[in-house]
Symmetry: C2
Amino acid sequence: MRSAAPNTVPTFQPLYRQIKDLLVRSLDGGAWKPGQAIPSELELAGRFGVSQGTVRKAVDELAAENMLVRRQGKGTFVATHGEPRQNFRFLRLMPNQGEPAQYESRASECRRARAGVDVARFLDLKPGDGVIFIRRVLFFGGEPTVVEEITLPALPFKGLTAAKLAAHRGSIYHLYETEFGTQMIRADEKLRAVAADAATAGALGLAKGTPLLSVERVAYTYGDRPVEYRYGLCRTDTHFYRNELG
Amino acid sequence: MRSAAPNTVPTFQPLYRQIKDLLVRSLDGGAWKPGQAIPSELELAGRFGVSQGTVRKAVDELAAENMLVRRQGKGTFVATHGEPRQNFRFLRLMPNQGEPAQYESRASECRRARAGVDVARFLDLKPGDGVIFIRRVLFFGGEPTVVEEITLPALPFKGLTAAKLAAHRGSIYHLYETEFGTQMIRADEKLRAVAADAATAGALGLAKGTPLLSVERVAYTYGDRPVEYRYGLCRTDTHFYRNELG
DNA sequence: TAGTGGTCTAGACCACATA
DNA sequence: ATGTGGTCTAGACCACTAG
């Protein structure tokens, strides 16, 4: 009932946190797929030999971290990027007026490459390791609004092609989830204001030197393993980046 | 034990949420001051005539929303902006390298004014209502890095002067808390990239037209009442705006 | 040693969805 | 009617802090 605390400070690990770790391991291992229901609390309690309340507390934390979604009367489900509701967790760009417009993406590049020093550090790879490099433009209401470069480790994403990108409908995280079994859980971002270079300005139909919002993102899957590095440049005259500080 | 559901949809309000509302009302009314301990769970349970578990769930939610801070063995405390640890909830600007530097603020302006249409809408006032207008520069490591305009409703902040701003050490939210009894709980922000105008460029020691991060913020106190409107321009060559998407 | 929050249990009952 | 999550209770015991 107690964690052994190997050689570090005598940290106490409550039971429900051990249960939580087991659940994350199952999620990571693909025991239950995104959108599917996990076993009921009573079922899990029996399986783990603990009370329902202990399972409940573990599930509560996972729901708070957006890995699970509870639905009263129906069950507890693995979170999925397939539902549009979940999309706005990672899509913060909103139009100045009106409802969050639909967007399309058009990839101009999707090729294998080798990780540079920086990307290797972000993705926890070695420099020279294989990666997949994507360049794309996001169109909001038909207008080119964001230019993005996405770098993924080659291994888990083997087989990602421009054709697959073009064929997919919905967010790219949904594609990661359905085609490559990789769930994005959280991300860290660094935001800056920068001047548009000639190429980016051209792609967005703006003058060279126009201020753009630079968004640098590292996204993580289960176990805080980094699996996507992204660099985006957004025009912010028609849109803004919304943020909530709690 | 049940909320009556007056004339709207028959929404169910659990007991612990009613307790939570009572606690928020007490906090809002200043029953316990920031940094002070609130009564123990057992004490509150007796006072409200519910079990400790029900109080616990209410307090759990308030702790998750950063209104209370639990400390095992010591008690539950009203959150305060006085502790440097809490500061980074609302201060997202980090230096490109090194530890989060200390900053100083210098107010160049602090005067009474009348709310314009936009500010009135943000602060839930009527156009023409009295406000306090502050303009200041934030210095990180001695370098001017942010130019900010802050607008506050005149009523709760009567008596805020440039002298008080200059005398205060620590974050301005700590000043709001100690001098005016107003706790900032959460905030909404809109981020954009804009070009520096001549005045701002001069204040920051940059060339006119330099891209700056524009941060528009509305901050709220208990009960989601807006009490601060802020417009900031940050240089992001030496710093960046960090964000965590969960 | 006493007081606080934190964990865990067992059980009763409620709200919600579905068949 | 059944099964799911959601609420509430009462009590035992643990972990942490402080006098």
